[in-house]
Subunit: 629 residues, 2 copies
């Protein structure tokens, strides 16, 4: 925080009649875009035309030439299918030409069916999976309120159908609790979902009761197509302190075209007769609107004060990787102001809480609401922070759609899943992360790491800060032996060969908890004269192809062992290395194939067939087969 | 519906003083169990002891000797970590001996850390991932109200922390809209979560306002340890018509033991001094409670009237697999009364709507709330119905935790994901299911099928009805060529060899949309004298090992091609076949490796490198490599 930008001259305010015309232009352009594309959602755009016109013309502060300007308001189109409305607004604001606008939904165009920030600089976050706009908007507003303490506002436009998503109510709870009064939710209550009417139709009070109960200020606009009423509602939102505001606007889907207005069966389709519709709407216009400039802002300077002073653990001692995670994250936060930590009400278990004790101003408690946990991370990530968000690995499954969409947004964040695998012991299968590696490996552009000791964990916490996209760190509940020396490096994409010998007959590939089982097995086998190589595959994605290839060439057979389901995890990651058309080595995998119950960690590993004894038995069988073959 | 069971003599009702003692016994037993196990959640059990005592002693109707009795009430312990309370109640009801109770959390015991129906017959559904009990309870209650029209009640006990989960509010909305007045939610408002206080502490009115706004009848119990007040609240719930009731009971975590009562830092741990605690609680008791018997009930007889009259499609025509799904499901519903269909407000797109038009009484609209969609399916599945629940494949990611927990419950259901893959075209990545195969393959005991034509889809809809566990059917948006004759069978675990020749040099393994691309490529290659085998791997899990092994032996190289991310899908399914230690064939995979934008379906397949041209190019390269090698 070291300087302030100059305030700019306010733009002249369009008169109501001009906003009426602007809204009609949005409708016409929406009809034109969908007609040219042969697909799209003009009727869902038309219902919200006045909401957008009043926002853009009177209340939105934004410099379209400087989308990175810290004083800009933020806008999230939660009903991402109404993208024609958004692109029409961008055109009216001078950000797009009419020609480019008309490339909507065509191959190579920046104007996709649902907007994405990867391609359009004025889009904060990818939408299109409903019920995500408000949760991410809460993350953005939380960053503004708690980290930037700035004057800009966050506007989210959503549909009424998506209010059925639970994630909206996680967000409503979070926003009110955090008193995010610079956040405004605009709801386009057009009464019609995709296949028919919503539960509450045009009953604004049904939604108002719910938001009020959750602690929001509510404004009901009986005619959501009336400029003056909307303008008053926006002013009321801007003057409300201490709580977020929802503006519930009663609108008509397809408004302005009699054949489409308030009609079922026209969702997600171009209008049947676009030329007649354009004529009915008063024809093509070319209005431009001068958007209000951003206000003065403090410029946030993010300090990076060298390398973090990571915790050190003495080899030979025992320490849980989750402990090392908490300590290393705290150290990282000490040298980087942009690092924020998020908890899903298990910070004492994941050890994220350690960060909160040292850096309370950058610690965010999201309570038991994993969708909001990841959405908050996304909102902060798109604003330039580096979130580390943690809960039990099992419960990250709750937020998979948010992770998937964060990847579409190109958001950069680290997600941390603790208590992975059957090794948690007595708590049983509901608490065991057994699908997490598969889930995160499949995410586009992701990085997945799974450390086996405390020093390795500490290094990886820092390594992950250097990566991009979605990174996943898997930690273990119980104490594990410290096998690496402090300061040893673990680059993403690498691995460690822990046992090797000229006469290796087989390679055991393990990660996390099973590394220690593999080492025990290797040592027992060595005593019998059977040499096996052991690789610690801490980087599950990207995977260390060179080391695995070398092991394949040297030993001819790779045995993977993982505390995870047999699908999608380490076995698959290793198999993928050899899916390049060259002759692959023999491959065998040990993984969790049953539904575990309660038992001690040791009993669990044994029952799942992934402990040292199981590895030893499998290795003997494979070595004997090779002798026979 | 063809007979009625006889009503049984009501049990005598325990006096309040007896219920006070019963609650103390629950506490003592919870302390004992956790102490013996060395883990567990006694304090979370102790807060709800009176809630459970009043329920069990006065209001619950259940025959513990006949857990399958259709007239039994249903109870769901949403706060599954309070399992000691549940097991203590089972003991008091005579269902468990004290000896078995004390096996809590031990290897081989039925009494797991979190209860599962797979092991205990009186448990309806597995819990332990918070915020799932009410959603599943809604499914159970919905079956009771709409299908059974019976007199039994559904009771859900949850904690206050889990009310932060959005899924609770999806369920609250659904329950009130469906007027589920036989559903009662008991909330143990003990003010403390795992790591500290909840957002609203002991403010019952904060929760009451929210539930009331969602349309629930609310009862606030200021002293949740007072038997008489609780009893009146239960009576009020039972006499409330037209809406579900929530009983919000103010309680103290660790109630009854001064050192634990209302204290932070004692979540999920045995009490520090269990013997002193037991003494303070008045010592060990051995009270038994006679639970009220179930009332008279109509016995539901599920008719199976032979094989369904599946739709037929003429080879050579074009038809979308989603269309065939809707038609086949409707036909299946005609011959099977236990089949129910669930929609996530996209029934017109998934074609589930066709079922609704023919069988409206067994069609359930869940609106845009995918967690509730799967939870409703789980609730109905555990009551013996066979749900087919559908939405876009992409949006099933929203419900992954519910799918995972349904598998822990051993629930039997079919989930259907439409609009899979980049082939949907212009709508862009937010709508493309590209992670679904990985997600479902990893689920324990799952079945995953992905048909390529309409006749195959119809057959698989019927085949899936014969399977157990979680089944996933992946459908395609666009029309695809009909290549199979009507009536041809497609057993789960099978595949179809569509092109084969003595001189096959390579095998292309495809499924769904890419089968047609593979066939085109094979025919082009054949014209150049390059023979490739084509396998339609419609059963992705379990996979047809024999056919793939034969192809490997015959051709030496398998090229997988899929409209899915490269991780966790068909490429991995094929690789897994050869992970048995025998020398594998050469393997290559084509899959979606980029982040798609908007484009036509054809452009998308080409850009992703999974169209006929891409397959042809890859096949040529591989065949030439083999020649060189």
């Amino acid at each position: 925080m070291d300087s302030a930008t100059e305030p700019r001259t306010p733009a002249s305010t369009p008169a109501p009649a001009q906003l009426v015309e602007l809204a009609q232009q949005f409708r016409v352009d929406s009809v034109r875009m969908a007609a040219a594309a042969g697909s799209g959602h003009p009727t869902s755009s038309m219902s919200a035309a006045e909401l957008m016109a009043v926002l853009l013309g009177r209340h939105f502060h934004y410099d379209f030439e400087r989308p990175e300007h810290p004083g800009n308001d933020r806008f999230v189109l939660s009903k991402g299918h109404a993208s024609p409305l958004l692109y029409a607004a961008f055109k009216a604001a001078g950000a797009l030409t009419d020609d480019e606008m008309m490339t909507f939904r065509k191959h190579g165009s920046r104007l996709e069916g649902h907007p994405t920030p990867q391609r359009l600089p004025w889009v904060e976050v990818a939408t299109g999976s409903l019920g995500q706009g408000l949760p991410v908007g809460v993350g953005i507003a939380l960053a503004a309120a708690r980290l930037e303490r700035d004057d800009h506002r966050v506007w989210v436009l959503c549909g009424d159908s998506e209010l059925a998503e639970g994630s909206v109510w996680e967000a409503a709870e979070h926003a009110a609790y955090e008193q995010l009064d610079r956040l405004t939710l605009l709801v386009d209550v057009n009464r019609l979902g995709q296949r028919g009417p919503t539960r509450h139709g045009h009953d604004l009070s049904a939604y108002a009761r719910r938001f009020a109960a959750f602690g929001w200020h509510t404004v009901e606009v009986e005619d959501g197509h009336d400029i003056d009423t909307l303008d008053r509602a926006f002013n009321e939102a801007r003057s409300t302190a201490g709580q977020p505001t929802v503006i519930l606007a009663r609108t008509l889907k397809g408004k302005g075209v009699a054949a489409a207005e308030d009609q079922e069966g026209l969702h997600g389709k171009p209008l049947p007769d676009p030329e007649a519709a354009i004529a009915e709407l008063g024809g093509v216009r070319d209005l431009h609107v001068q958007v209000q400039p951003p206000g003065p802002t403090r410029v946030l300077t993010v300090a990076h004060r060298g390398a973090p002073d990571l915790p050190h653990y003495a080899p030979g001692t025992h320490k849980a990787t989750r402990d090392a995670y908490g300590a290393a994250l705290t150290a990282l936060g000490t040298v980087r102001d942009d690092v924020v930590a998020l908890d899903g009400e298990v910070g004492d278990s994941t050890r994220t809480q350690l960060f909160g004790e040292e850096h309370p101003e950058r610690y965010f408690e999201c309570y038991i609401a994993e969708q909001q946990l990841v959405a908050t991370a996304t909102g902060m990530a798109v604003r330039g922070y580096l979130p580390y968000a943690g809960t039990f690995a099992a419960f990250l499954t709750r937020a998979y759609d948010f992770v998937r969409m964060a990847a579409v947004s190109g958001a950069s964040m680290v997600l941390v899943g603790s208590h992975a695998g059957v090794g948690i012991g007595e708590d049983g299968p509901s608490q065991m992360g057994l699908e997490d590696l598969a889930m995160f490996r499949t995410v586009h552009g992701s990085t997945v790491v799974y450390p086996c000791d405390a020093n390795q964990t500490a290094q990886l916490v820092a390594e992950l800060a250097q990566q991009t996209g979605i990174r996943y760190l898997r930690t273990t509940r119980g104490d594990t032996p410290v096998i690496y020396t402090p300061g040893e490096r673990f680059p993403v994409g690498g691995s460690k060969v822990l046992r090797t010998h000229d006469e290796d007959r087989l390679t055991v590939v393990a990660a996390g908890a099973t590394v220690h089982e593999a080492l025990t097995a290797a040592d027992v086998l060595a005593a019998y004269g059977i040499r096996v190589r052991v690789i610690d595959l801490y980087s599950v994605k990207p995977v260390d192809r060179a080391t695995l290839r070398e092991a394949a060439a040297d030993t001819g057979c790779l045995l993977t062992v993982e505390d995870h389901r047999e699908e999608g995890g380490i076995g698959d990651a290793v198999a993928e290395v050899f899916a390049d058309g060259s002759p692959p080595p023999r491959l065998v995998r040990l993984a969790v194939r049953t539904m575990p119950g309660s038992a001690t960690p040791e009993e669990q590993l044994h029952a799942a067939g992934i402990d040292a004894e199981s590895i030893e038995a499998a290795a003997r069988l494979l070595v004997e087969q090779a002798v026979v073959a």
